[in-house]
Amino acid sequence: MDDLLLTLVLTFDAALRVSTPLILASMAGLFAERSGIVDIGLEGKMLASAFAAASAATVLGSPWIGLMAGVIVSCGLSMLHGFATITHKGDQIVSGVAINILAAGMSIILGLAWFGQGGLTPTLTYDQRFHSLSLPGIDIMDNIPLIGTIYRELISGHNVLVYLAFIIVPIVWWVVYRTRFGLRLRAVGENPKAVDTAGLSVTKLRYKALLVGGILCGIAGAYLSIAHNAQFTRDMTAGQGFIALAALIFGKWKPYTVLSACLLFGFLDAVAVRLQGVVIPGIGEIPVQLIESTPYLLTVILLAGFIGKAVPPKSVGVPYIKEL
């Protein structure tokens, strides 16, 4: 019984770690898409940020500087996306694809030129990355059965970015639903013309939304290379930007439901790792690939309208052309 509990708690623990970049990236996507800009470049921005963070951390020796570098690079790519799609009214999907491909190529080319290790960054030392924090009171809590285990294994022992991700969700909710910026953001995604008529700049609002997205996406990427892992490796995002996008759709562009989707997808991933090669009585061995692909399958099924309906912001994907 205790063993089962521990396994369960450890699986949830792993799920939290895997969910963190998904949460951050999907919140980034939420800002972009709520403002009317499709952001399939999440993957590329995360990857570029992961590379920048690891490079800066290894050269300058501090994870905080690494985090900053990641955020700056990710914001830069966000602004490029804005320049192409807002200023020049280019296709948002094409621009996103370009960002993804550019990030995939540049991270390797620059890594090779700077560090000469086949595109990897050097492994970070202890001081150069974020570490797990022990929350206070573990010893006291340990005396309480169940809760003690949960507190020690599940709640305590994560790095600062994991906690940040979970704190950010209510903040995002508050910004989107309770502030003037949030109201305008939602309005510009639904009906930019109305926003324009009210005398607000659609362009500025969308750039702002992309910038916020850039910051969050940058944190997500930095988490991968300087907190969850200790170096940048080739294509280390491995589709997580797209899973975040799927979570955003699955969560219907609402912060808390998106969070649940991220946790679900993170949990599936943790389960897939646990179930590798395990034979379940009566069912046999479940192919890991099946569990791995569940987020994509679920999203497709949702999009097909079989479980609820995912209605995107009305004007998402449409460049706003002001009438002359």
């Binding site: 280019g90 999907i93 621009s95 694809v97 491909i101 550019l102 692909s293 999009l303």
Partner: protein, 366 residues
Amino acid sequence: MNRDTRINWINRLILPVLNVLTAFAATAIIFVIIGVDPIEAAEILLYGAFGYQEGLGYTLYYATNFIFTGLAVAVAFNAGLFNIGGEGQAYIGGLGTALIIFAIDPNTSAWIFIPASILGGLLFGALWALVPAYLQAYRGSHIVITTIMFNFLASSLMVYMLVNVLREPGNMSPESQLFPQNSWFPFIHDLSTNFGFVMEESPLNVSLFVALFFAVIVWILIWHTRLGYSLRATGLNSEAAIYAGIKPKRIILITMCISGALAGLVGINELVGYQHRIIMDFHFGYGFGGIAVALMGRNHPIGIIIAALLFGVLYQGGAELAFELSNISRDIVVVMQGLIILFCGALQYMYKPWVINALAPIQKES
């Protein structure tokens, strides 16, 4: 020149050339940043791609893949659809090809094998595009998102198939047994020997002719058939198309199937033409490359063939570059792809106001 033809010329010729030049200039800057002389790099690249027969063979071999995926993306673009799923369709198309080849008796003549393997690729590629197409047409879900999801689903499915089903017994790496020899597409260097020319060996095979054949078919289909007309009408204005008696939903289904089918042919060049077995990730990068090729080739088969050739040059020349210079890898080609998609796609009208201004005085004089 009246105003319309002038705009037409700007859109068709001046802007694309400027955009491609910008992408090249940006690449040159990246070369300088990483400490490689761009001129020297260009020389190595061109030598690798054209300098000797084997290099040229590789160039055309890579170009073949890009023709298939470029056509796939272009057909969808012409109907106003963005098929970002070429990657998955190519992968699953290869599966179809392999399954059909293994299903046929190994002693069957090549004349049966060749059309059958092509058909397998077409069919499976089309099927993999059909579901996203159906969801777009009848359930209102966005094709870009569903095709992205299908890329990942394809990848998971193929890992499962290669590891658990198709893997050759006793082989540690996830690849199937060799295809029966009768099914192999002839290499160009073997064919040329039959005609008395001796050529250096390269993976170039008759798939190139299949690709060119399909380029012609696509050209006829889109610009010279009723279906092509409906397809373009749907792309330009699907609501107006309804009043012309066109059913956009059906057109979406048909277009996506054609698009997926074309992408599904990457497998014949890679697998039947060269590897002679199905392997992991043989399709990698060609689906996304097809987007760059279609954008650069302005969605027209002739443009696509030229752009595919350029990408073939980049792929093969990039390999040469990585071989010659230690501080650069083949990923520089990926960077160029990204830049081309950025400047020829997302920023394609960036120079337009500037060009129109620059041409205004000439206009007044004439």
